[in-house]
Subunit: 406 residues, 2 copies
C-alpha cells in the first residue's frame, strides 16, 4: 500500500464547501487503495486576518506570540477537514505540531524543520485513518510553537512525504507549472514534466508555484511532486529528477518578480572581508538578499549592488547604512520597484547563445538592464518594474514557448 | 508578593482596543507589587464562529475535532494579550494547555480538569512575566486537546488560582452580582458580598454571572472571588465563605431560566431502581437533568417529571422514550418553553415562610406552578415561560429587594 501526501493551499480550503471537496477527494484516493496524509494551509485570508490582529494590538508584535496566534489558522483547517471526512463516513484524525511531533529550530516565524516523527502518523494510518496535519508549523524541543514562514506548508508536506517515503501531491489554484505566468502571458503553456533544479530556479526567480525550500527538500530526498489543480481533476506537472529529454529544451520558462528594491553601496575600500561584514547582519536577520553584483573601479574601490524584497527593505536599508559606515564605504543608493526577469532551462547547459538572445530581445525594446546574474541554468536581469510584463512576453516568444508542448 | 489571577471574558477581549485595555490593566496591577496571571476567553463571537464552521463542514462534527477547532479561540487571545503587554514595555508570556500543562479527563467538549501544574507558571512569574493562559481548555494525559464546555474559562481561572493560592478576579460585562437580572428587573441591586453557596444556587438557577462548577471549585479551595466590570473601575461583588450578616437577608436574589423543557414519564411500575435506569443513559451522555419530581398515584404507579435545557432536549427525549419502553412505563410527555424561577438566600435557613410568600405572590398573578423543588437555601418553581419576567419582578418586590443594600 503506497502512502500519498496531499497538500492543500489556502484557496483549496477557503470555504466549508471546498473543505468538503478536499475530504471527498482524500476519501476517493483512499478507496483506490492508498494511505492518505493531508497537509493543509490555513483557510485563505485567515493568516492575514490573524497577522492583522497581532499588528492591531502591538506595533511590532513579538515573534513568539505572533506564532502562537498565527498557528491557529492551520489548526482550524485540520480539525475541519477531519470532521468533514467523519461526516462522510470515513475515518480521520488530526494531529498538531506537538502531537506528531514536527520539530523545528528555535527561530520564530522563520523556523526550519529539524525532524519529523512518523510513529504517530503511521500508527493512525494503520488504523485506517486519513491523517490530517497542519502545514507551516512545528514545535521546538522546548515545546514552543514556531512557524516556518510564508509558504511553509509546501515544505511541511515535502518533509512529511520524505519521512514517510511517500509521493507528494501539491494541490493549488493553478493546474500545473507554466512556461510563464498565464496572467502576464496569455500564450503560456503547461509544462508536463520538469526537473527539481529548474523548478528551484523558477521559484527563486519569482514563480509562485511552490516555495523554493520545499523543492530543495524534494530534490534532496527525491520525493516525486505532482503539482495539480484542486478544482479540476486533470494531470498537472510532475517534478522529478532530470531526464535526458528535459535537456532538449533550451529555456523552459520565463519568470519575473515584482516590487523588489535594488540597494547599491559605493566606494568600498579594497580590504578582504569587508563585503562579508556588510552582508552578515542581514543574514542574521534572515533577510533574503539576491542578485549580488560587485564591480571594481579604477582606483581600487568597489561597489556592491543587491536586491531585497519589499517586506525587508526598511530593515535592510538600516543594516546596510550602519554597515557602510562601519567599513568606511561611501553612499548607499536605493532604487525601488525594480523587477527581476529570468529565463530558466536545463538546456542552457548544452545550448549556447541564450544570454545573447535575451539581451538582444530586451535591447530591441529599449529596456535598460541594471544588473545581470547567471547560474548554470538561469539568466536573470534587473529592469524597471513598469516594463517587466512587456519583457516577459517578448522573451516568451523569443524562446519559442508560445506553442503547446508536444 | 501576592499572586492575582485575572479572568477576562469574551466581551473584555472583543476588539484590539479592549485587548490593549486588558494589557494595561494587568500592568497596573503588577506595578502595585503583585504577580499577575491572566486567564482569557476567546474574543467575543469567536467560539460561535468556529462552531459554525465545524457545523458547516459536518452535520454532527466529532467532538475531538470540534475541540481542535474551538480551542484556537483562546489561543489567539493569549497570544494577542501577551503581544500587547510587550508592546507597552512589559514582560509577558503565553502558555498553552500542553505547555502548562492543564490536565483534563478524556471527555471532549465537556471535560473536567484533573490537575494544574504550577511549575511553568511560577517559573515565568519569577522572571517578571505576566503569564497569559487560555481558559476553557486543557490536555489529556495522552496529549489530546479537550475543552471544558461553555463557561469553562471561569473554572480554569479558579482552578489556576487555587493551584497558585491566589485571589481570583472575574472581569465581566456587568459590574457585579445583582439581586435579579437588571434587564428584567430595572430595580435590581448590586450585592456587595455573597456566599459561595448562594452564588452556586443562583448559577444553577439560571443567573449567568459565573459557571456553577467554577463557584463550586472556589468554595472547595476557598478561593476569594471578586466579580467586577472590565469597563468601569468600581468595586464589584465579593464571593467568600459565609458570614453571620449574610444570614440576616432572607432572600438575596430572584433568578430565572428560559427555554427549558419539562419531560414527564407516566405510569412507571413500582419496582426498585427503575427510575435510576431511566436517568442513567442521560448521565452517561452528560445531559444536565434538573427539577426532578416524582409522584405516586393510588394504583402504585408513579410519574417522574424533570427539566432539561433546549440544547439537550432532542437527545434527552430519545433516551427517555427508549428508557420508558425498557422499564415498561407509560407515555412520555413534553412541555417546551417553560421557565424555572427561583428565590435564593442563606436567610431561608432561619426565616420561615419564604415558600408561602412565593406561592402567594404567584397565585395573586394567576400564574400556574407546574413543579416545585427546594434546597436548603433555594426554592424553584416551573412556570410557563411567557410569564417568567412578570413573576421575577413581582417576587423581587415581594422579598424587599427593590431598595439599595445598606
Amino acid at each position: 500500500m503506497t502512502i500519498i501526501v496531499q497538500k492543500f493551499g489556502g484557496t483549496s480550503v477557503a470555504t466549508p464547501e471546498r473543505i468538503r471537496h478536499v475530504a471527498e477527494h482524500a476519501l476517493i484516493t483512499q478507496a483506490k487503495g492508498h494511505q492518505v496524509v493531508i497537509v493543509t494551509s490555513a483557510m485563505s485570508g485567515e493568516t492575514d486576518r490573524l497577522l492583522g490582529l497581532a499588528h492591531a494590538v502591538a506595533k511590532d508584535p513579538t515573534t513568539r506570540e505572533t506564532d502562537v496566534v498565527v498557528s491557529t489558522g492551520e489548526q482550524v483547517s485540520v480539525g475541519l477537514i477531519a470532521a468533514a471526512i467523519h461526516d462522510m463516513g470515513g475515518k480521520a484524525i488530526s494531529l498538531l505540531g506537538f502531537q506528531i511531533p514536527i520539530l523545528t529550530d528555535g527561530v520564530f516565524m522563520k523556523s526550519r524543520m529539524t525532524a519529523v516523527s512518523t510513529d504517530a502518523i503511521t500508527a493512525a494510518l494503520n488504523k485506517g485513518n486519513i491523517v490530517v496535519l497542519p502545514g507551516f508549523q512545528g514545535i521546538t524541543p522546548q515545546g514552543e510553537i514556531t512557524t516556518l514562514g510564508r509558504g511553509g506548508s509546501d515544505t511541511s508536506a515535502v518533509a512529511i512525504a520524505a519521512a514517510l517515503k511517500a509521493d507528494c501531491e501539491i494541490y493549488t489554484d493553478v493546474d500545473g507549472v507554466y512556461s510563464a505566468d498565464p496572467r502576464m502571458v496569455p500564450n503560456a503553456q503547461k509544462i508536463h514534466r520538469i526537473s527539481y533544479e529548474e523548478l528551484m530556479e523558477m521559484a527563486s526567480a519569482g514563480a509562485k508555484v511552490m516555495q523554493m525550500r520545499s523543492v530543495e527538500l524534494a530534490a534532496k530526498y527525491n520525493v516525486p511532486l505532482h503539482i495539480r489543480s484542486s478544482f479540476h481533476n486533470v494531470e498537472g506537472t510532475w517534478v522529478t529528477d532530470e531526464t535526458p529529454e528535459m535537456e532538449s529544451v533550451m529555456v523552459s520558462s520565463i519568470t519575473s518578480t515584482m516590487h523588489e528594491s535594488r540597494i547599491a553601496v559605493r566606494d568600498i575600500p579594497d580590504r578582504c572581508g569587508l563585503v562579508a561584514q556588510l552582508f552578515e547582519p542581514m543574514a542574521n536577520s534572515n533577510i533574503n538578499v539576491d542578485m549580488i553584483v560587485q564591480t571594481v573601479n579604477t582606483e581600487g574601490l568597489s561597489s556592491v549592488a543587491f536586491t531585497v524584497g519589499k517586506e525587508d527593505l526598511k530593515k535592510a536599508m538600516q543594516l546596510t547604512e550602519n554597515g557602510a559606515k562601519e567599513i568606511g564605504a561611501g553612499r548607499v543608493e536605493v532604487a525601488g520597484d525594480v523587477s527581476k526577469v529570468s529565463a530558466v532551462g536545463l538546456g542552457m547547459r548544452s545550448h549556447a547563445g541564450v544570454a545573447v538572445r535575451m539581451f538582444k530581445t530586451l535591447a530591441a525594446l529599449n529596456i535598460n538592464i541594471q544588473s545581470i546574474t547567471t547560474s548554470e541554468i538561469k539568466i536573470s536581469v534587473i529592469i524597471e518594474m513598469a516594463r517587466a510584463a512587456e519583457a516577459v512576453k517578448a522573451l516568451h516568444t523569443a524562446f519559442g514557448l508560445d506553442k503547446p508542448q508536444t
